[in-house]
């Protein structure tokens, strides 16, 4: 199997087959990365496609020998974070719901395992939406994409220590948001019981 770097080099020579292979190899990860950033399927689709289009047009700037994954990650992350910032700004005007979001409190039986899973997923997605761009970035890169601190440090151009504290801060913020949303849920459940 050809390495990403070899394929990308072939793409620069206008080898369309190499490009197709590269797209197929990375599309799942890029689609999900975009989705983890924006929480909306339609938007993730557009965003992931934009990543590949940007990648395609960035071929000339790519320095052969540089790891392809770093190149792709930094390009993808920049687009995702830009989109996230823009969306946060827009959302102040229009409150656009994230995927799978139904009313958090539910009158249905709380013993229903599936329901609980769904509620927890909704809480997670809502909580992620409350994070600032730097925190969302840290959570997606570290906890969803399993990037190492060194990779993140290179990507963000920040010292490892700063990356670490950013991750901790992001997790605490996320934890707080989850606790708050769970509080709303349990309060409402208690209200139902009355």
């Amino acid at each position: 199997m050809k390495s990403d770097e070899e394929l990308f080099e072939q793409c620069r020579l206008r080898d369309t087959g190499a490009w197709e292979t590269l797209v197929q190899r990375h599309q799942v990860r890029m689609l999900n990365l975009a989705y983890q950033f924006c929480g909306n399927k339609e938007e993730a689709r557009d965003l992931a496609q934009d990543i590949f289009i940007r990648l395609y047009h960035s071929m000339e700037q790519y320095q052969p020998g540089r790891p392809f994954k770093t190149w792709l990650n930094s390009l993808a992350r920049n687009l995702c974070i830009d989109n996230y910032r823009k969306r946060k700004k827009d959302r102040r005007l229009v409150d656009k719901p994230v995927d799978e979001f139904y009313d958090l409190p539910s009158a249905e039986s709380p013993t229903d395992h599936k329901l609980e899973k769904r509620q927890r997923r909704e809480i997670l997605m809502r909580a992620l939406e409350t994070l600032g761009p730097a925190s969302r970035d840290a959570i997606v890169m570290k906890d969803f994409q399993n990037m190492s601190l060194e990779e993140m440090s290179r990507l963000l151009g920040l010292p490892v220590g700063t990356v670490k504290s950013r991750i901790s801060r992001a997790r605490v913020d996320l934890g707080k948001a989850i606790l708050k949303l769970e509080g709303i849920k349990s309060w409402s459940e208690a209200a139902h019981d009355l």
């Binding site: 369309t16 490009w19 197709e20 797209v23 197929q24 599309q27 799942v28 689609l31 999900n32 989705y35 983890q36 399927k41 993730a44 689709r45 992931a48 496609q49 590949f52 289009i53 395609y56 540089r66 946060k88 995927d99 799978e100 899973k117 927890r120 997923r121 809480i123 997670l124 997605m125 600032g132 761009p133 730097a134 925190s135 906890d143 969803f144 601190l149 060194e150 440090s153 290179r154 963000l156 151009g157 920040l158 010292p159 490892v160 220590g161 700063t162 670490k164 504290s165 950013r166 991750i167 901790s168 801060r169 997790r171 605490v172 913020d173 996320l174 934890g175 707080k176 989850i178 606790l179």
Partner: protein, 317 residues
Amino acid sequence: MICDRFRAVLSRYVRGELVEPEFGAAVEHEAICSECREAALLAWEAVEGGETVATTAPLLPLESLLARTTGSDCSYVELRVAEDLDEPLEVALRARIEDHLGGCASCRRMREILHELPAFYALYPVLKPDRAFTREILDRTIGPRPGFLEIVRTLWRRPEAVFEAAVACALVTVLIFGRSQPDYTVMADRAEQLVSEQLQKVVPERASVHGVRDVLAQTGTSVGDFLAPRDGHLRRRVDGVYTSAVKVSSWMERAGIDLRNGDYQALLSDLRGVLGPLGLYPKPRAIGEAPETGVEDDTKPRGKTDDSVPSQDAGTR
């Protein structure tokens, strides 16, 4: 990289002025050397005071928090508990944290939720790209892949049109007749190769490729069997296709679309549409039946023949 070297590049490092390969080496050294990490953090704070990327809620550098607290502050404890998820805290620090947790329900709840995070993450839906997703990316970068139409158009546009057109006709011939005509072997081989390549591109599943090719080959064989002893007749027929280049071209377009859509019924109907009037479409005949004779006469009315083939079964095989 060694410590001395790291200290030498430190100020450029924290200002973001370092480039590869030095930047990478500095990052790697910082990851393994706690003293240099500490030094980088201090230098970093001196330069930036924490954040470079604008965020809605600026981060407070952990170490400056440490300087301002005695370790009993909840926000300090929360951050340390979050850090503990990746890397166990030093023994002394951990003892102080545990002390605080023992008396602080809100920090205990925070620790619980932090430990639950991986379980929460596992609930995040995973998306799978569909074929249209990939298709759109390819269309928006390398453009749509060439279909029959593009190939035929290219052939026709070039000056060596006569030969090219003959190849294009052979393409049609091969589609209809399979490879049963020895006189056309060389051209047919080349054409079949082209057709095969095209089919593989436009019809993603190999099974469908073989499916459609089987249908076409079978149709071709039946016509070929019938026409084989009358080579001159076949030539006239192919010439007929050649002179109808425009018709064939537009048929190619439709055939290309049909193939892309995987609509083989429509493809066969298009075949009939263009080849029928030229008398090139096969007569109705069950597979394995003896070849018919005496229908090669150009003056013979064709309408009946044209509409009755192929059978519905042929298209869906």
